[in-house]
């Protein structure tokens, strides 16, 4: 699906990284994971998340893999993004986390 594009993009664009603290009540649980992956799929860039700056990195477009990360509330979520729309993708990801995934 996206993988062919993403891999090509990843080779041509230097990866961008940033991190944000998960503020929503129970961390990256079911609903936020779905929102995160849906948002990520809207970009061509290869988008990965991790609980530590050095990885291991997880494909942010796969809800199954994102849920396996089991990121709790208060954890720092690191992003690594590479692709032509990388900057916009990173901004969108960070906004989603800062906004607590829209949860009250």
């Amino acid at each position: 699906m996206h993988d062919a594009n993403a891999n090509r993009s990843a080779q041509m664009f230097a990866p961008l990284t940033a991190s944000a603290v998960l503020v929503n009540p129970v961390g990256l649980h079911a609903r936020p994971s779905v929102k995160l992956t849906q948002c990520a799929k809207g970009f061509i860039a290869k988008i990965e998340i991790a609980l530590a700056a050095e990885g291991p990195w997880t494909d942010a477009k796969s809800p199954v893999k994102v849920m396996r990360v089991k990121a709790p509330q208060g954890a720092t979520l690191h992003f690594r993004v590479a692709g032509p729309d990388g900057e916009a993708a990173l901004a969108a990801m960070l906004a989603l986390v800062h906004d607590g995934f829209g949860e009250a």
Partner: protein, 532 residues
């Protein structure tokens, strides 16, 4: 045959009586198996079929239920979920065995999670697994359950829950399960009583025919004696009548029969409880427990994490007062890395404020986060388990120091008023000696320490009576101290929600009661019947 009493944990409140419907995990094996190509195609078709079924179901349900199913659809639509299964099929394993093994591996990952929330998601994965298996095996997905049944089993999947019409009065009694599961959330929003963690259901072969479910107490009685059943039905009728009357008055301020205004506040154990609640049902939040921040094993919560949570609660309250209790660990609430293990009598040991003063590095972080949050509303801070005035004085000095440090750094902050929880008899007897900005009576511990009886020890539970004259005298004495010192007194223990005690509590002079959101309507109705 004798009646069977089982005790578990309440997951959704309310009382129900009904015939028992036992959930069985019917395993139908596929008769014919094809070559790897056919098996892969069969699995693909079953996964796509399951997604279509879920999409149909989503179209018929609303909000929360739809979001839960959308999670399942997202998982099913992700190739990563079936990756392992397709690999096994290519190696010659049958589609159903391959799918089951792949999902079971995924499910055991969830069950091994540190956090209750992620463990509870295992039920969603089981749901996905069984729906696809049913498609592969050509079986009907869900056995029909009549809506007036008490559904008993190890656990129940969200889609099984959603297939039942819960308006007909049924309930759920589970050997396993979790109050944090999606089904528990759904049960609470649908008003279906639910009890989890009952342990192995004790029948072999012949299941019981009738069950009484008490979702308030977390108990279930199977095959009740006629007299037990009659008493239970009596309670149900009374509760129903009270609920109907109470719901009408939930949004109105609480007034006694003679027109005296009583403030009704909320007890909150986790911020998620406020989701979907109208702040107009209460006069503020009387108790925010902060232990939830310290659960899980990823270390202690940082200042920013705590600040964000406190601020969200203050934002929800929209100017109404919010009382946040500092960490009340120890006793029956151990926290790895903070509390002391192996105390001979933890209830009389290093807990509450004693522990916070012994762990100043943890306490200071919480005090800083509270000072920063205080600019976003009307925040009050209360200290648990205070026994002597010097504990309050030491905490106050630490609060002042953190407030000064934040101010010096130019960080937005305010110094919230500092009050004490009155739950140790010494604090109730000498309440006037404390330089507290307010008193909040914790009736659970005050009762247990006054009567020297724990409520979870069955043999002495009847002694644990918050309505005993000795306990009421300590409450009245605290109210009097508050009146003399001109500071507010409230009560935030379970006694506030026990409407049999409302009359006696208001007679002590209390004018502020704090209860869990579910009890607000009932309490307001009880207050309306009291002449103060």
């Amino acid at each position: 045959m004798g009646e069977i009493h089982l005790t578990g944990h309440p997951a959704s409140p309310g009382l129900a009586i009904g015939p028992v419907a036992v959930l069985t995990s019917a395993v139908v094996s596929r008769v014919t198996k094809g070559d790897p190509v056919q098996e892969a195609a069969a699995l693909k078709a079953a996964i796509e079929g399951a997604a279509v079924e879920l999409a149909d179901l989503i179209a018929r349900v609303h909000d929360e239920a739809a979001e839960i199913l959308e999670f399942q659809v997202a998982m099913l639509g992700d190739d990563a979920l079936a990756e392992g299964a397709y690999e096994a099929i290519a190696a010659g394993v049958a589609a159903d065995d391959a799918w089951r093994a792949a999902l079971d591996a995924e499910i055991s990952g969830y069950r091994a999670a540190d956090e209750e929330y992620f463990r509870a998601r295992a039920a969603d994965l089981v749901d996905i697994r069984d729906r696809v298996l049913a498609g592969l095996n050509g079986a009907n997905t869900i056995a029909k359950i009549s809506g007036d049944s008490v559904v008993a089993g190890d656990d129940i999947s969200p889609s099984t829950f959603l297939a039942v019409d819960w308006t007909r009065g049924g309930a759920i009694a589970l050997a396993g399960g979790s109050p944090s599961s999606h089904v528990a959330m759904l049960a609470r929003s649908r008003g279906a009583p639910m009890v989890v963690g009952l342990g192995p259901l004790p029948w072999n072969g012949q299941p019981p025919s009738l069950a009484l479910v008490d979702g308030d107490a977390g108990t279930v009685i199977f095959d009740p004696h006629p007299e037990t059943r009659r008493l239970f039905e009596h309670r149900m009728a009374a509760a129903n009548a009270a609920q109907i009357a109470a719901d009408a008055g939930r949004l109105k301020p609480a007034l006694t029969a003679d027109g005296k205004r009583i403030a009704v506040l909320l007890n909150v154990a986790a911020p998620e409880e406020l989701g979907g609640l109208d702040p107009a049902i209460c006069d503020g939040i009387g108790l925010v427990r902060t232990e939830f921040l310290f659960e899980g094993s990823r270390g202690l919560p940082g200042e920013d994490t705590q600040y964000a949570v406190y601020r969200r609660i203050l934002d929800w309250a929209a100017g109404r007062p919010v009382t946040i209790r500092t960490l009340d660990a120890g006793g029956d609430k151990p926290i790895p890395g903070v509390t002391v293990d192996g105390e001979r009598n933890p209830f009389l040991g290093l807990r509450g404020i004693r522990l916070s003063l012994a762990r100043p590095q943890v306490f200071r972080v919480q005090l800083r986060a509270l000072c920063r949050a205080a600019v976003h509303g009307t925040l009050k801070v209360m200290l648990p388990m205070v026994a002597v005035p010097s504990e309050l004085d030491r905490a106050k000095a630490m609060l002042d120091a953190e407030f000064s440090a934040l101010t010096a750094q130019g960080i937005a902050c305010a110094r919230p008023p500092l009050g004490i929880m009155v739950e140790v008899p010494s604090a109730a007897l000498c309440a006037e000696d404390f330089d507290a900005a307010f008193y909040s009576i914790g009736s659970n511990d005050l009762t247990q320490y006054t009567m020297a009886a724990a409520r979870d020890i069955g043999a002495v539970a009847d002694l644990n009576d918050a309505g005993h004259p000795a306990v009421l005298a300590l409450i009245a004495r605290t109210v009097e101290a508050g009146r003399r010192r001109g500071v507010e007194v409230s009560l935030c223990g379970d006694a506030a929600a026990d409407t049999r005690l409302t009359n006696a509590l208001l007679a002590t002079g209390l004018t502020t009661l704090s209860v869990s959101p579910i009890a607000v309507a009932r309490l307001k109705a009880a207050i309306a019947g009291v002449i103060a």
